[in-house]
């Protein structure tokens, strides 16, 4: 109410809508991944909004990368745990 500009949530939805034909052309399994990328961006709407960027989708892409990095760190930790005692170790 009373806002002049669209919110970040609206802007992400608008971008998603603009890419609808791109998404449609993807395989279903890839569509799921793409949806996950937008879900990742939506987890950081507060941070994206706080950048005051003219093009907030740049910050949204950063949020997607952040989620990927987080997941890599998680998987790395789990692999380390699985390899514990085997002598194998992931290279940084």
């Amino acid at each position: 109410m009373g806002r002049t500009l669209p919110t970040i949530t609206q802007q992400i939805s608008d971008t998603e809508a603009a890419l609808a034909r791109f998404r449609r052309t993807l395989r279903k399994s890839d569509q799921y991944i793409l949806d996950g990328m937008f879900a990742a961006a939506r987890r950081h709407t507060a941070a994206i909004s706080h950048t005051d960027a003219l093009l907030p989708f740049e910050a949204a892409l950063l949020a997607i990368l952040l989620e990927q990095a987080r997941e890599i760190a998680t998987l790395r930790q789990q692999v380390e745990q699985l390899n514990c005692g085997t002598g194998y170790r992931l290279v940084d």
Binding site: M1, T7, I33, T74
Partner: protein, 728 residues
């Protein structure tokens, strides 16, 4: 010269001044008169002002040139016009402003009780002492202020009355009346007998307040329609004041306000037509009437926004600031970058989806009003340093102080103390005023609003919330969620209220705003979006505090359109889960929770659920004819219209889902054949509601949130595990 001491309960204009009603300490209800000239001002183009001067001179007003203070533009030359009869001002001003629309007008539409309070210090519901010569008041003084935390209660005589049945459903046959502990029942036929009996009861009890059910929308209009000679006013020379029903657009929806009946010398409140009466009751209405100065009948039917505007007008009148009739301030020019930086609301995080245990919720106390007061946010002070308190902080400071004082008293009382209900009602009434005061800073029609001051408040709130987050993280807490003025934090081993005291102190020290622990949840569930389970939703959660109290937001039980049967079953399941002492034990409660749901379905199929519990309530957003594909509410409205009833946009429609066409049965539209109730539809609604509360506890979901499940791309598991990594 006689002196009278008591409460001022009513005030309205007559031909020569004011009529005041005093509820005296000796029990008298005393009408008195007082001369009360009123002044308004006009400013603008000199030629037009000169013509306006002549116009007013012909009407016999006392005119003068003066310099007065406009909040936004500073000192201004104005034409001041004073008339001795305040009741004549609305008509006079209407013709003046029609004739000279280009002038700026001030103080022309200020409610009379506010003018009186500003000049004498005596507001409606104030205790006061009056010097009387005959029935004329020569002097009046206040004996208290609206800011007394525990004011002396007014010994009101309250008469309750209402029909024996909801008039929407069928024509009532009797009028039920209660005075004290005595009940009366009057037949509506014959009308002459009703007139005599009701008149006798009003004379016998002489109530100060008629507290009715459907008084605005049925009883008083009917009394008029029936042509009864009964005058329900205390002032016998007056007729009741009737205001027509209307529909208007506010807060993103169409709102319907029923017709109103106001009385003179006593009050009338229709519980069914009173704004937020269910939220804070009569005590809350009296509290709002007292602090806003608007009076009980007005405040019961007006929004809190009207109350805040009244309070700002009062501050302006007292401090010599002009009250503009229309807002004159537009948004200041900004660059695009400036607009992007400023045009934002409060900080809303996306929570970590799933079930979390031992979580504390901490809230900033009245955050936005505190910011306005502490940082001197007011239209005329925003962006300027070193100024004294602006109009808005001056208005809010005592209001905020009173609410905090009431909350402090409430915190010290036992929950079963007999004072708790009234105090809660009063605190809630003040809370509503404080809630809307922020919105009114940015409201396009608010007389003392300016969007930049609105934006300054949200900007500061975001900064303060980030400072709170940083303070929590410095102390080792994981911030699960943040929502405008509250945080959900968690740290292994922290589960008692005292464990969070250092955090509260750290945040209060850092931000300068008081913050309090709302409670510690045994467990709390942040729900995902229905569209994609990987997307969190900010305000959709439920949880159980350590004392077993349930808190839920955004789920079906909070929605106004959910049938009572669905609400009750969803809450029964939640309450059952709340019996588990820990999150781990809650798993064992799942099978029996399913049993509660099955029993509810059996009750529905066997016709053991009352029809009222299946009613769906939805608002009609436009005229019935305006729907291209009618919603269930529109179909219900159409049925009512066909049955000869009036419906208007903004009205709430109550209906039952039925099988076949038109798929609904409008409440109040004849008798319902129970066999046509669409049980399948209700079971679908229930399953959806139960799924909301049970699904997070299913093994897959639980293991995912506990971080032990193999991560899918972007699942809660990954986030949770990553949090663990960050902490280690």
């Amino acid at each position: 010269m006689e002196q009278a001491t008591g409460w001022l309960i009513d005030l309205y204009p007559d031909e020569n001044g004011l009529v005041l009603w005093l509820l005296c300490d000796d029990g008298r209800r005393l009408p008195a008169r007082m001369s009360f000239p009123v002044t308004f001002h006009a400013a603008g183009d000199f030629d037009q002002l000169r013509q306006a001067w002549r116009f007013l001179q012909e009407k016999g007003l006392l005119l003068a040139r003066a310099t007065r203070c406009d909040l936004f533009s500073g000192e201004r030359e104005v034409l001041s016009a004073t008339l001795s009869s305040p009741g004549a001002l609305p008509g006079l001003f209407a013709s003046l402003s029609r004739q000279f629309p280009g002038l700026d007008y001030y103080d022309a539409d200020v409610p009379l009780p506010l003018r009186f309070a500003a000049r004498t210090g005596v507001g409606l519901l104030s205790r006061c002492r009056a010097d009387l010569a005959g029935n004329r008041i020569s002097r009046i003084e206040a004996l208290d202020t609206p800011w007394e935390v525990e004011p002396q209660p007014i010994p009101l005589r309250i008469l309750e009355l209402g029909p024996d049945v909801n008039p929407v459903l069928r024509p009532p046959a009797r009028l039920r009346i209660r005075y004290g502990r005595v009940d009366y029942s009057l037949g509506l036929e014959p009308l002459r007998a009703l007139e005599v009996a009701l008149g006798a009861l009003l004379r016998q009890f002489d109530p100060d307040l008629i507290l009715s059910e459907y008084g605005d929308t049925w009883l008083f209009p009917k009394l008029k329609e029936w042509g009864l000679g009964l005058n329900p006013n205390r002032d016998p020379d007056r007729e009741v004041l009737t205001r027509r029903a209307d529909s208007y657009f506010a807060y993103g929806q169409v709102v319907y306000r029923g017709a109103q009946t106001h009385l003179y010398g006593r009050w009338h409140i229709d519980r069914r037509n009173a704004m937020l009466y269910g939220e804070y009751g009569l005590e809350g209405v009296l509290e709002q009437a007292r602090v806003t100065g608007l009076g009980v009948q007005e405040m019961a039917r007006k929004s809190p926004g009207a109350g805040i505007t009244a309070m700002q007008m009062l501050t302006a009148l007292r401090t010599g600031v002009l009250v503009p009739v229309v807002k004159q301030q537009a948004e200041s020019e900004k660059t695009l970058a400036g607009l992007i930086a400023a045009d934002k609301g409060g900080m809303i995080y996306q929570p970590l989806i799933g079930v979390h245990k031992d979580v504390a919720q901490i809230d900033f106390t009245s955050m936005y009003p505190s910011i306005m007061v502490n940082f001197n946010i007011s239209p005329e002070t925003t962006g300027k340093a070193g100024l004294p308190d602006g109009l808005v902080p001056q208005t809010l400071r005592p209001l905020l102080g009173k609410r905090l004082a009431l909350k402090k008293i409430l915190g010290e009382l036992h929950p079963r103390d007999c004072r708790v209900k009234a105090l809660k009602g009063r605190a809630a009434a003040l809370k509503w005023l404080l809630v809307v005061c922020f919105g009114y800073l940015g409201y396009k029609n608010a007389r003392f609003g300016k969007i930049e001051s609105h934006e300054a408040v949200t900007s500061l709130s975001r900064e303060l919330l980030l400072q709170a987050k940083e303070a929590a993280e410095e102390l080792g807490f994981v911030v699960l969620h943040m929502y405008v003025d509250c945080l959900f934090v968690q740290q292994p081993g922290y589960r008692q209220a005292a464990d969070f005291n250092p955090l509260l102190s750290a945040i209060a020290g850092k931000t300068g705003i008081h913050i309090a622990l709302d409670g510690v949840y045994r467990w709390v569930v942040f729900l995902p979006s229905r569209r994609d389970a990987r997307i969190p939703v900010p305000n959709r959660y439920f949880g159980v505090f350590q004392d077993g109290e349930i808190k839920y937001r955004g789920i079906e039980a909070r929605r106004h359109d959910t049938p009572v049967w669905v609400v009750q079953t969803q809450l029964a399941v939640l309450e059952y889960l709340a019996q588990a002492a820990t999150l781990e034990q809650a798993q064992a409660y799942l099978p029996k929770a399913g049993g509660i749901v099955e029993q509810a379905k059996r009750n529905l199929k066997a016709g053991r659920v009352p029809v009222e519990d299946l009613l769906v309530t939805q608002r009609l957003s436009r005229e019935v004819a305006g729907y291209k594909s009618p919603s269930p509410a529109a179909r219900a409205a159409k049925q009512l219209q066909e049955a000869g009833k009036t419906v208007a946009p903004g009205q709430t429609m109550r209906f039952i889902y039925t099988r076949g066409v038109p798929g609904v049965w409008a409440y109040g539209c004849g008798a319902l054949d129970l066999r046509v109730v669409d049980a399948g539809m209700y079971i679908k609604l229930l399953d959806r509601a139960v799924q909301t509360v049970l699904e997070p506890f299913t093994p897959t979901a639980t293991s995912a949130v506990c971080g032990t499940h193999a991560p899918l791309l972007f699942t809660g598991a990954a986030r949770q595990a990553a949090n663990t990594i960050c902490k280690s």
